[in-house]
C-alpha cells in the first residue's frame, strides 16, 4: 500500500500542487485540515507561502498545532516547505515579532541586503552534512542543483548542525534543515521540476519505511 501523506491545509499556499507532486511521486496524498486524518497519516507535509503571522494564526484557529507537535514527537516523517519550515522556529521578526511553534530553536529574519525582495526564482542549493550512501531526503540530487524559491525571510537555527543546505542571496542563508524525522526546506520542491519530485519520492520512501 502507498504511504499515506497528509498535506496540511490551513488556507495558505498552493496545497494542490504539493499534493499532486506527492501523488506523482508515489504517495497517497490527501489535502486535509482534519485532526483524525493527520493523526493516521504515515507522513505529514506542512506547505505554505506568505506571511508568518497569518500562517500561525490560521494554524492556531484550526487547532492544528498540537497535532503537528505530537506527530513530530511520535517520530512521524515531517516535511516542512517554505512557511512550513519557518513556522517550526521560535520566533520571526516579521511585523516586529511573531511567535512560531518553537520546535526548532532559532529566529526567522528578513533579508538585509540591497537585492530584490522577495528572493524569487531558481537558486543553487549547496548541501552540507549529507548522508553518504543514500537514505537521505536529498539522495540522487547533485550538489549545487537549482530549486525554486519565493520568500523575503529566512530561518536561522541556533544549532548549526541542523543546517543541511545553504544558498547564496547576498550571503549564504540556511535553505534547508534536517533534524531526526524533520525535513524542512525554504525552497519549493513542488515547483522545482524533476529534482523537486525526487525530494518528494525520497520523503515518501522514508514514510513507507517508518510505517
Amino acid at each position: 500500500m502507498k504511504p499515506s501523506i497528509a498535506v496540511i491545509d490551513y488556507g495558505l499556499g498552493n496545497v494542490r500542487s504539493v499534493s499532486k507532486a506527492l501523488a506523482l511521486a508515489g504517495g497517497d496524498a490527501r489535502v486535509s485540515s482534519e485532526i483524525k486524518q493527520i493523526e493516521n497519516a504515515d507522513g505529514i507535509v506542512l506547505p505554505g507561502v506568505g506571511a508568518f503571522g497569518k500562517g500561525m494564526d490560521n494554524l492556531e484557529k484550526a487547532g492544528l498545532i498540537p497535532i503537528i507537535r505530537s506527530r513530530i514527537e511520535a517520530g512521524k516523517p515531517f516535511l516542512g516547505i517554505c512557511l512550513g519550515l519557518q513556522m517550526l522556529f521560535s520566533v520571526s521578526e516579521e511585523h516586529g515579532s511573531s511567535r512560531g511553534m518553537d520546535i526548532i530553536k532559532g529566529e526567522v529574519k528578513l533579508f538585509k541586503n540591497d537585492l530584490k525582495i522577495p528572493h524569487m526564482g531558481w537558486n543553487r542549493v549547496k548541501f552540507k552534512n549529507r548522508q553518504e550512501g543514500g537514505g537521505g531526503i536529498f539522495e540522487g540530487i547533485s550538489d549545487g542543483s537549482y530549486f525554486y524559491f519565493v520568500h523575503s525571510y529566512y530561518a536561522a537555527p541556533e544549532e548549526g548542525s541542523l543546517v543541511s543546505s545553504t544558498t547564496d542571496y547576498g550571503g549564504e542563508f540556511t535553505s534547508s534543515i534536517v533534524k531526526e524525522n524533520i525535513w524542512a526546506m525554504q525552497f519549493h520542491p513542488e515547483k522545482s521540476g524533476e529534482d523537486g519530485l525526487r525530494i518528494m519520492k525520497n520523503f515518501i520512501r522514508t514514510c513507507g519505511e517508518k510505517k
Partner: protein, 267 residues
C-alpha cells in the same frame, strides 16, 4: 570578456539566483491562440500539453494569459489550471480578466502560483492591497503596459493597450509595490510584436525604481535581445511568446547563449 561580465554579476551580488526565462501562452476559450509549433505535440492548441513540453524543455516559469472575451467562458481557465497543476511542477502565473478577490482565490486553489492584474489594478488599486494581505505579496503581480510619451517618460495603458490612463509608469510601478505587489510584469507597447528588442531604457528605469523583481516583456526577436533586457535592462526575468512558440529558438539554446554571455541561468 566573459570573465569580466561574470565579475560584474558578482559585484551586483545577485548570489546564485538565476535569471528566469518565461514563455507566455495566450489562451482563448481554453485553447492556445495560434497554437504552438513544437515537434511531437499531439494537440498544438492544448495549453496543458504545451505547458508540460515547456517545463520539460527547461522553462523557469509559465504564464497563461486569458484573452477570453466573455466572463462565462472563463471557467475553462480554471479547468486548465487544475489540469496543469497535476502534471507541471514549475511556477504558473495566470493573468487576464481578474477583477475581484474570489477570482484570485479560485485560481490559486486550482493550482496557480501567482496572478497578474493590469486594468483592474489601475481601476481599483485596493484590489492589489487586499489581495496582497489575503494571499501574500509573492503571488500578486501587477502587469503594466507602457507606452513612450517623451524621452524617459512612459504612460500606463489599460484594456489591452486601448485606454490611456494618464499615469506615469515609474510612479505607478512604485505605487504597486507599496500596495503589495511582489513582482512587476512590464510590457513595452511600442516594442510588443515588433521583434526588434525590448525597451531597455524603460526596463532599467522601472527595475531601478522598485524593490521587487521585474519581468521584461515585449519585443523579443533575437537571443541578444533577451540578454540586453537582463543585463543592461536589469530585468530579473524575460517573458516571450512567438520566438519560442514557433520554434525560432529552443529554451535550451536560449539558456546556453545567455550563459555564454555571462547571464546566470538554470541549465
Amino acid at each position: 570578456m566573459r570573465r569580466k561580465k561574470m565579475r560584474d554579476f558578482q559585484k551586483r551580488g545577485n548570489g546564485g539566483l538565476a535569471k528566469r526565462i518565461i514563455p507566455c501562452l495566450d489562451v482563448k476559450n481554453g485553447r492556445v491562440v495560434k497554437g504552438v509549433n513544437f515537434v511531437d505535440l499531439v494537440d498544438a492548441g492544448d495549453p496543458v500539453e504545451i505547458a508540460a513540453a515547456y517545463a520539460g524543455a527547461g522553462a523557469d516559469e509559465l504564464v497563461y494569459l486569458d484573452i477570453t472575451a466573455s466572463v462565462e467562458k472563463r471557467q475553462a481557465m480554471l479547468e486548465i489550471v487544475a489540469k496543469t497543476a497535476e502534471q507541471v511542477f514549475i511556477p504558473l502565473t495566470v493573468g487576464g480578466g481578474i477583477r475581484k478577490l474570489p477570482d484570485i482565490s479560485d485560481l490559486l486553489k486550482a493550482g496557480a502560483d501567482k496572478v497578474s492584474m493590469n486594468t483592474s489594478a489601475v481601476e481599483n488599486p485596493s484590489l492589489i492591497r487586499d489581495a496582497s494581505r489575503e494571499f501574500g505579496a509573492q503571488c500578486i503581480i501587477t502587469a503594466i503596459d507602457a507606452k513612450k510619451t517623451a524621452p524617459g517618460k512612459w504612460e500606463v495603458y489599460t484594456y489591452g493597450g486601448r485606454k490611456a490612463t494618464g499615469l506615469d509608469v515609474i510612479n505607478w510601478a512604485k505605487q504597486c509595490v507599496e500596495l503589495g505587489s511582489g513582482e512587476i510584469l512590464l510590457t513595452s507597447m511600442d516594442k510588443d510584436g515588433t521583434q526588434s528588442g525590448f525597451d531597455i531604457e524603460l526596463t532599467a528605469a522601472v527595475s531601478e525604481a522598485v524593490t521587487v523583481p521585474v519581468i521584461a516583456s515585449g519585443g523579443a526577436g533575437e537571443l541578444s535581445h533577451l540578454k540586453d533586457a537582463l543585463d543592461e535592462g536589469k530585468a530579473d526575468a524575460v517573458l516571450a511568446a512567438s520566438i519560442f512558440h514557433f520554434g525560432k529558438f529552443s529554451i535550451a539554446e536560449t539558456k546556453k547563449y545567455l550563459r555564454e554571455n555571462g547571464i546566470p541561468v538554470r541549465i
